[in-house]
């Protein structure tokens, strides 16, 4: 078995250690004997429908986000939305998450259109939310990471959050929600990197990708002792520092 992972804008949108998410997906495949290929797709490179099993999109600086927003508003965004609607798993963190909503409104300059995959929108805030964050999710249990964003994301009636914030600020610091879920897509503000410390989410994405390409597949369990220790110490720090 083989999975092809598409890292959207991986050469420019890769701050805050988001490479760890791609590494986690690839390694957790390999440790189970599943071949994993990572393809980085940049601005101007077309997204071929049906070629990729799993999508990851990280965060970037404002300058990079503008070029990427223009790129994704074209046919690429259409293909990505169609893939997710057909069940393709996707994880988007921070900047990528924001551009999957309906729009991003900066302090100055024109509004950046998103692709509207999530019924959500983001407005630039003044205070930056920075710190460890713990989220309780019905699907994935305790999820831990580090948030660092000034954008406030608001969920519309058609959107479901990833979870409720236990420690930290989350989507907007007001309604206690963090992230967004739709089909097999997850958007959120958690760096850390997210997937190595939250292997339940990594395995959810891998399982969804395998099911889509190979039918009913059961993931063999892995020894997550190191992962659990790192998650526990991150949660301890979150509770102790905020």
């Amino acid at each position: 078995m083989k999975l092809t992972i598409c890292w959207l804008y991986g050469s420019t949108m890769n701050i805050y250690g988001d490479r760890g998410n791609v590494l986690a997906l690839a390694q957790r495949c390999r440790w189970r004997g599943i071949e994993a290929e990572v393809v980085t797709l940049g601005v101007g490179e077309p997204l071929e429908a049906g070629r990729y099993d799993l999508f990851f999109w990280g965060g970037g600086q404002d300058r990079e986000q503008v070029a990427v927003a223009a790129d994704i508003s074209g046919p690429k965004g259409e293909v990505l939305r169609a893939e997710v609607e057909a069940g393709a798993p996707l994880l988007a963190v921070c900047g990528g998450y924001q551009l999957l909503g309906r729009f991003y409104r900066p302090h100055d300059g024109p509004e950046l259109p998103g692709i509207g995959l999530f019924d959500a929108w983001t407005i630039a805030g003044h205070e930056r939310f920075i710190g460890n964050i713990v989220v309780d999710s019905d699907e994935f249990g305790e999820v831990v990471g580090f948030e660092n964003h000034s954008g406030r994301t608001y969920l519309g009636p058609g959107a479901r959050p990833l979870g409720r914030v236990r420690v930290g600020r989350g989507n907007n610091g007001e309604d206690g929600t963090e992230g967004c879920r739709h089909r097999n897509a997850i958007g959120c503000y958690l760096h850390g990197a997210l997937l190595p410390k939250n292997p339940a989410i990594a395995d959810f994405l891998i399982a969804a990708a395998l099911r889509r390409r190979y039918g009913d597949v059961t993931l063999s369990p892995l020894d997550d002792t190191v992962e659990s220790a790192a998650r526990a110490s991150a949660v301890r720090r979150a509770v102790g520092t905020r």
Partner: protein, 461 residues
């Protein structure tokens, strides 16, 4: 005489003395707060009286080492140097260093000042000290939670640099495309330095690298040669921008494992051979930067060579101690680029069991995501056990696991002091071990080793 200034300086000195007497640490920053409370312009007033002017050194990596190298060269040339030597590089730490190194009547005891500045504090430090020379080293990713994104810092620096008067000089690392662009068309004069050596090249832009795009037109940069992170000889095929001509170029770089380095500086006045007892290509850049600044200040080539030859490593950057019969080599790691260079040095310098200590306090950066930008995969081919410890040692263990390092080579330990004891227990009786701590883990380690009579407290150096 300015009574307010005199009082501020005296209060600063007194508080530094008291803090040390009480054993509360080096007293490297608090006296600056005390002095500025009495006279908010204390730093401005003291800096203005330094006849030979102030030099401000800024960059993500190498500030402390480069500042110390430059201060050493200037001392060698017969100048008396005021310097925030401890690496306390925010405005309060710089103020404390000036107060400490001034007479009680408010006169600085030096002909020239070498000021290491924090990236975020740079605009204020420049505004207050009105430097004659600004030395810019590099801009790498570092502590995004504290400094914000690289573009934000670059924008602030640009504003500050454009405000410099025509009699100031900016000495800049032209191998850094972001800094080269930032120093175009200034009112101040510009002098450039960089590497022209082909011996130590990277094949690819490492993951932690930033600024691989042309800052003028946004097209990707093409590198003729790449030396370290995004530092190299570059050109933009789209708009024709390229690395500026070098006023001081380093050639024939020789890295001698963990022991030291040598290189030749090429200037309009002929070649200068220099060597220094610090390892790694990043220290070659530091030596080059310090030499370029010293030459710009009119220091004779002999003093540059002599000053660098006498250089000793800055506090904690790399040091060797003997503890319970074992040789411990301690090297600070604080961001992906620096960490990668340390790993590169380990690959070249002979392998030994390694303990990595990761903390997440304010001075380390509270976000440990940066560990995922470190090319830990380099350790795959270094066949030694890897120990992890510190407040976030578990995150480091996880990083190593996902780098593909077999779990039998990983030894997760807890926080200090236990991590140190267990690590040293595991080393052979006269063996060698590397310890790679983040900043506050290094302070804690020094404290421990000092308490056990191994190293002196750093402010006594």
């Amino acid at each position: 005489m300015d009574p307010r200034l005199v009082l501020a300086v005296m209060a600063g000195k007194a508080s530094a003395f008291l803090i040390r007497r009480l054993g509360r640490g080096g007293g490297t920053a608090a006296p600056g707060v005390v002095a500025s409370t009495i006279d908010p312009a204390v730093l401005d007033k003291l800096a203005r009286q330094v006849d030979g002017g102030c030099v401000v050194v800024a960059g993500t990596n190498g500030k402390t080492t480069t500042s110390r190298m430059l201060a050493g060269i200037l001392t060698q040339s017969g100048r008396r140097v005021i310097h925030n030597r401890s690496g306390s590089n925010l405005v309060r730490g710089i103020t404390a260093a000036f107060a400490e190194q001034s007479t009680v009547t408010g006169r600085p005891r030096g002909d020239v000042a070498v000021i290491e500045s924090d990236e975020a504090a740079f605009p204020e430090v420049v505004r207050r000290t009105r430097p004659r020379l600004v030395l810019l080293l590099n801009l790498f990713r570092d502590q995004l939670d504290r400094y914000g994104e690289l573009d934000t810092i670059a924008a602030r620096w640009g504003e500050t640099l454009r405000s410099l008067p025509p009699d100031a000089t900016v000495v800049v690392n032209a191998d850094d495309p972001a800094l080269a662009t930032l120093t175009e068309g200034l009112t101040a004069a510009r002098r450039t330095f960089g590497l022209t050596d082909g011996r130590y090249q990277l094949d690819d832009l490492p993951h932690a690298a930033d600024a691989a795009v042309c800052r003028r037109c946004g097209a990707p940069l093409r590198y003729e040669r790449l030396f370290l992170s995004h530092l190299g000889d570059y050109a933009c095929d789209a708009c024709g921008y390229q690395r500026p001509a070098l006023d001081v170029a380093a050639r024939d770089v020789q890295l001698c494992g963990l022991e030291g380095l040598a290189l030749t500086l090429h200037t309009a006045d002929g070649p200068i051979a220099v060597s220094a007892g610090v390892p790694g290509l990043y220290n070659a850049y530091n030596a080059l930067a310090a030499a370029a600044a010293a030459l710009t200040l009119g220091v004779r080539p002999e003093a540059v060579t002599e000053g660098l030859a006498r250089f000793r490593s800055a506090f904690g950057r790399i040091e060797r101690v003997t503890y319970r019969g074992r040789k411990l080599v301690i090297v600070l790691v604080k961001n992906p680029v620096g960490f990668n260079e340390v790993l590169r040095m380990l690959e070249m310098g002979g392998a030994a069991p390694t303990l990595i200590l990761i903390n997440d306090l304010d001075a380390d950066g509270r976000d440990v995501s940066w560990l995922w930008d470190v090319d830990a995969e380099r350790l795959l081919d270094v066949p030694v056990p890897l120990y992890t410890g510190g407040i976030r040692g578990d995150d480091m263990a996880l990083r190593l696991k996902y780098a593909g390092i077999p779990e039998e080579r990983l030894v997760p330990l807890g926080d200090l002091p236990d991590a140190l004891d267990s690590f040293v227990d595991d080393l052979p009786a006269d063996g060698t071990g590397f310890i790679l701590p983040t900043y506050t883990a290094m302070l804690r380690l020094r404290e421990l080793l000092a308490a056990r009579g191994v190293v002196q407290a750093f402010w006594e150096e």
